[in-house]
């Protein structure tokens, strides 16, 4: 049995006599010790779905079984007990503003029935783990965003949970700080074998952190795959859109600006592995007579598996260009025309 089993879950909200289906008939199995990502645009229902795992959101239909306990049918007491073993970290940290860092963590410990006398030592250990041992008596407002999220993690881990739910936990942070938080989460996952369910709209996170990933669109899971397959070979249109947006974003604005108005087509070519596309490019160029200039080439590593990404600019006769695009489509794993 999987650690988290979500079966046929739907969540419907009543809003002014209108029914809004935030989650539609979702089924997922998440295994113990894995880092499972759920990606999608905002409003896709990710936050709602993840909240059904600890019962913050009651599904209108379906069951959620966590560690063998049906969260949807649990009594108040059983639900509180289950929540103690499910940590939750939030996009906006959600620390108690008027309580110190130590008091924030003490709250979670008290909620979990941790004896008061032993709390200072536990708080020390938890803050040490996230590198904030000397900030115990500070208030949240005195910390930076990244530090607040570290406190959020320490609080979530207070009662030695076996599951950690993360709701856009890095989305309010700059890229560098987000990487730090991701490193901490990875470390926690490896050392403490805590299952992590992480929802985000940021593909950078997916690339670095996730083992498996589900793509969500309009309340439904449209694709379930590994992190590597998501980037290398996305199947659903939503996954393609997300991955391409992530890859396209990498093309510098200066380059786009320079090519604006010039006739031609920008293509992003994606291929698995780290071998070169040079032969293909030479071949297509000489057989169709188009000029192909390489704008950018790089290799993304997803869990140390390579995906090559190449941006090229094709110029020449319109008919030759479309022939070239056709040939690329046949010979390269994935070809995407970049909007200009």
């Amino acid at each position: 049995m999987s650690q988290i089993e979500i079966s046929n879950v739907s969540v419907t909200f009543e809003q002014k006599h209108k029914q809004i289906e935030a989650v539609k008939n979702v089924s997922l199995k998440i295994e113990k010790g894995e880092i499972f990502g759920i990606v999608g645009l905002s409003g896709a229902g990710k936050s709602t779905l993840v909240r059904t795992i600890n019962g913050l959101q009651k599904p209108s239909q379906g069951t959620v079984v966590v560690n063998g306990v049906d969260i949807t049918q649990a009594t108040k007491k059983a639900l509180a007990a289950a929540r103690k073993k499910i940590g939750f970290i939030f996009q906006n940290f959600n620390l108690i503003n008027n309580r110190t860092i130590a008091q924030n963590i003490a709250f979670a410990l008290t909620a979990g029935g941790f004896p008061e006398k032993a709390q200072p030592k536990k708080i020390d250990a938890l803050l040490d783990m996230v590198g904030l041992k000397d900030r115990q008596d500070n208030y949240p407002a005195q910390l930076s965003g990244g530090q607040k999220q570290r406190v959020g993690i320490a609080r979530a881990l207070a009662n030695d949970p076996d599951i950690l739910l993360c709701d856009e936990a890095t989305s309010a942070l700059d890229l560098e700080t987000a990487q730090e938080i991701i490193a901490i989460l990875k470390d926690i996952n490896q050392r403490l074998h805590i299952t992590i369910v992480f929802i985000t709209h940021q593909l950078e996170v997916a690339k670095d952190l996730f083992d498996r990933v589900a793509v969500m669109e309009a309340g439904q899971i449209v694709e379930q795959t590994t992190a590597y397959r998501l980037f290398a070979d996305p199947q659903s249109s939503m996954a393609k859109r997300l991955v391409n947006r992530f890859l396209d974003e990498q093309l510098p604005d200066e380059v786009r600006e320079k090519l604006r108005g010039e006739p031609g087509v920008i293509l992003t070519l994606k291929y698995q592995g780290d071998d070169s596309l040079d032969p293909v490019i030479t071949e297509i160029s000489s057989s169709t007579g188009v000029a192909i200039s390489i704008l950018q080439g790089r290799i993304e590593y997803i869990h140390s598996n390579a995906i090559g990404v190449l941006a090229v600019f094709i110029t020449g006769e319109p008919s030759a260009i479309s022939k070239a695009v056709q040939l690329f489509t046949e010979k390269v794993d994935m070809v995407e025309e970049v909007a200009r």
């Binding site: 939750f88 309580r99 709250f107 909620a111 208030y139 949240p140 407002a141 009662n159």
Partner: protein, 220 residues
Amino acid sequence: MNETIQILKANLGQSLWETTEMVLISGIIGIVFGTLIGLALYYYSNRLFSPKPVVNAVVGFIINAIRSFPFLILMVVLIPFAKLVAGDPYTPMGGTVSLSVAAVPFFARIAESAFAEIDEGIIEAARSTGANFWLIFQEVLFPEALPSLIRGIVLTIISLIGYSAMVGTIGAGGIGNLAIQFGYNRYDTGVLISVIVILVIIVQIIQWIGDFLAVHYTRS
């Protein structure tokens, strides 16, 4: 002038004490019961706790009904009730009864909005630890709402000082009574001015202490 000083000497201490008594007792009753009712209104309206729209609407209606009474009329209407509770309605204790009845719903709305202002995310985080409501109240709702509650307490006390002067007009004592009896009925402008000056000073001091405490308990 001499007469004014004599009147003040003879009556001011007593009047001030009566006002203090009325404001303090009704203030405490208002704050304690108002907080409880405000907390209940919040609890029964927030989706993260236990939304019960009917309970909320009924309690809300009762509060609004009491609050829609102009205080002077509430006071008159409550004379029989004050008699029942305090014996003589025309005493500071009698006045305290109607002041308390006014203070409770007033503070209930203040407390409700102080709790409702708290970021829902913080409540969600608290809920997800498995904490029970009592713990959440002590460790989350109370500290987060405290600055707003303090400002509300200042507002309530200052309003009660004003209302207590009205209680004075029906003879229930206090500093308002002093101003009416001597300043208005006996044309002693000196007494009237003294009372005004004292009230201004008291209100300023309360406001100042309240602001100081509210800032002190806001850690951001």
